[in-house]
């Protein structure tokens, strides 16, 4: 799948979770910039999984720290 199109869909999904209105870039971190707690991470991951019909296991999540890494991971998982 096209990276830009995937990034657009993820940007739409993160909006309701981005309560602080953090400006999003590929370098934005989920723990540091967005300040996601574990429950928010689960809900956000579930939203991504449902949108793209994929599984992002916790093992994979451990490797994803930034917004850019998430987009790359989704592109890769969609194949």
């Amino acid at each position: 799948m096209d990276r830009a199109a995937t990034a657009d869909r993820i940007a739409a999904l993160i909006a309701p979770f981005n309560k602080k209105g953090v400006e999003i870039s590929d370098a934005s971190t989920f723990a540091g910039d967005f300040e996601f707690d574990s429950l928010t991470v689960m809900d956000f991951v579930a939203a991504i999984e449902d949108e793209f019909d994929i599984i992002i296991s916790m093992n994979q999540q451990a490797e994803i720290e930034t917004y850019g890494q998430l987009v790359d991971a989704v592109v890769k998982l969609k194949g």
Binding site: D43, E49, D53, I55, M58
Partner: protein, 399 residues
């Protein structure tokens, strides 16, 4: 040199801030004397115990105590060995036989704690390339078992059948699947819709493990747990349980009908590489388990206690973890950690011990005062408990 302990600084600071308000440290309570399953002396004050998980009150059962004393005399203080070396005594076989009979299952394997039972079974059966699908509110021992194995770990929202099903359906063809559920979730005291969840798990080709730590002895017609209560125990591949709650001592176990189950004794590292339970412990456990098979009257009284306390606290205006009592755990939701700690201390001053539970142990960052009832709490004690909640709630400004 960087200090490896600096990662704990936020917690150290939070603790210091809390204790500087003058509140008693909730995590350094010492019980000086234990008088019965429901009463102990804490800080010199006689205190009703309402946070022990001693659901069936077996800790002081005369037959249980006698069996322990006899085993201590006959077999000594400890085994000094692993089950697979010199650590299997007659008592270990006897308690496994008692478990097989209690659950009506073919195999039983005893661990040194309930934590090790989850750690060992989950990490051993779900390996690299397999998938574990589990409830986000699972106990720490389940999470640690997931982490210790190499399986892909996929959590779903608490008790959400649809979320679980979606994840199961996305797992690649041919991968091994283990669904991990609990009968009673101990933080809020709510139960799982096991009948529906297990049906979905089975329809998607998954094996099912259910932790029934907080239901053994009093939920289900024979006290086998929530799966029995909902008529699906025969669909459960692995039941995990503990001796440290209704059984009244310490230890953990897994029971199963899997035809190859016995191989676990050779491949499960938290079983192999640790000393087995002392003879006195397995003797008390076996005696207690056999008595729990005939615990109908106690079960009925425990449920009565649970209903009375739930209604009493609800009527006082406390916010509870469940709308109806679903187990022997009644969880009282506190507005925040500071007022939760103040309420906990006020209760202790009234002579009532409950569990203060806080993040990360609790779901959604809640602070909880967790009450676990005992079949040995008298109806009068339950009324006393409600009265103490009333007074402490006013003192702490919760009510």
């Amino acid at each position: 040199m960087s200090d490896l302990f600096s990662k704990f600084d936020p917690l150290i600071q939070q603790r210091e801030a809390l204790l500087s308000t003058g509140v008693t440290d909730p995590f350094s309570l010492v019980m000086e004397r234990v008088i019965s399953p429901t009463v102990a002396v804490c800080n010199g004050r006689e205190t009703i115990l309402l946070g022990t998980y001693n659901y069936m009150g077996m800790t002081f059962d005369p037959d249980v105590i006698a069996a322990g004393k006899q085993a201590l005399e006959d077999f000594g203080a400890g085994t000094t060995g692993s089950r697979v070396l010199n650590g299997t005594y007659a008592g270990h076989r006897a308690v496994e036989d008692a478990l097989k009979e209690f659950y009506g299952m073919d195999h039983a394997m005893v661990f040194s704690t309930g934590y090790q039972a989850n750690l060992g079974i989950i990490s051993t059966i779900a390996g690299k390339g397999d998938y574990i699908v589990l409830d986000i509110d699972s106990h720490a021992s389940i999470w640690d078992g997931c982490k210790m194995g190499d399986a892909e770990v996929v959590p779903f929202r608490h008790n959400d059948i649809e979320a679980m099903e979606k994840r199961l359906k996305r797992i690649p063809e041919g991968a091994g699947k283990l669904v991990v559920l609990e009968g009673v979730y101990s933080m809020l005291g709510d139960i799982a819709p096991l009948r529906e969840m297990i049906a979905v798990a089975k329809a998607n080709g998954a094996m099912v493990l259910v932790d029934e730590a907080h239901s053994m002895g009093f939920i289900g017609p024979n006290g086998r747990g929530v799966a029995e209560e909902q008529g699906v125990l025969d669909q459960v591949d692995f039941v995990i349980g503990t001796f440290s709650k209704s059984v009244g001592t310490v230890g953990g176990f897994c029971v199963s009908n899997h035809p190859k189950f016995e191989i676990m004794r050779l491949v499960c590292r938290p079983y192999v590489f640790t000393a087995s339970l002392p003879p006195s412990v397995v003797a008390t456990a076996a005696t207690s388990i056999r008595k729990l098979m005939h615990g109908e009257a106690k079960r009925a009284h425990l449920w009565e206690n649970s209903r009375t306390l739930h209604k009493g606290l609800k009527d006082l205006g406390f916010q509870l973890g469940t709308d109806e009592p679903q187990s022997a755990i009644i969880s009282v939701i506190m507005p925040d950690l500071e007022r939760g700690a103040a309420m906990w201390e006020a209760l202790l001053h009234e002579g009532l011990y409950v569990n203060l539970a806080r993040p990360p142990a609790t779901p959604a960052g809640m602070t909880l005062l967790r009450c676990s009832l005992c079949a040995e709490h008298s109806a009068e004690q339950v009324q006393t408990i409600i009265g103490r909640f009333d007074r402490a709630g006013r003192i702490a400004g919760i009510l």
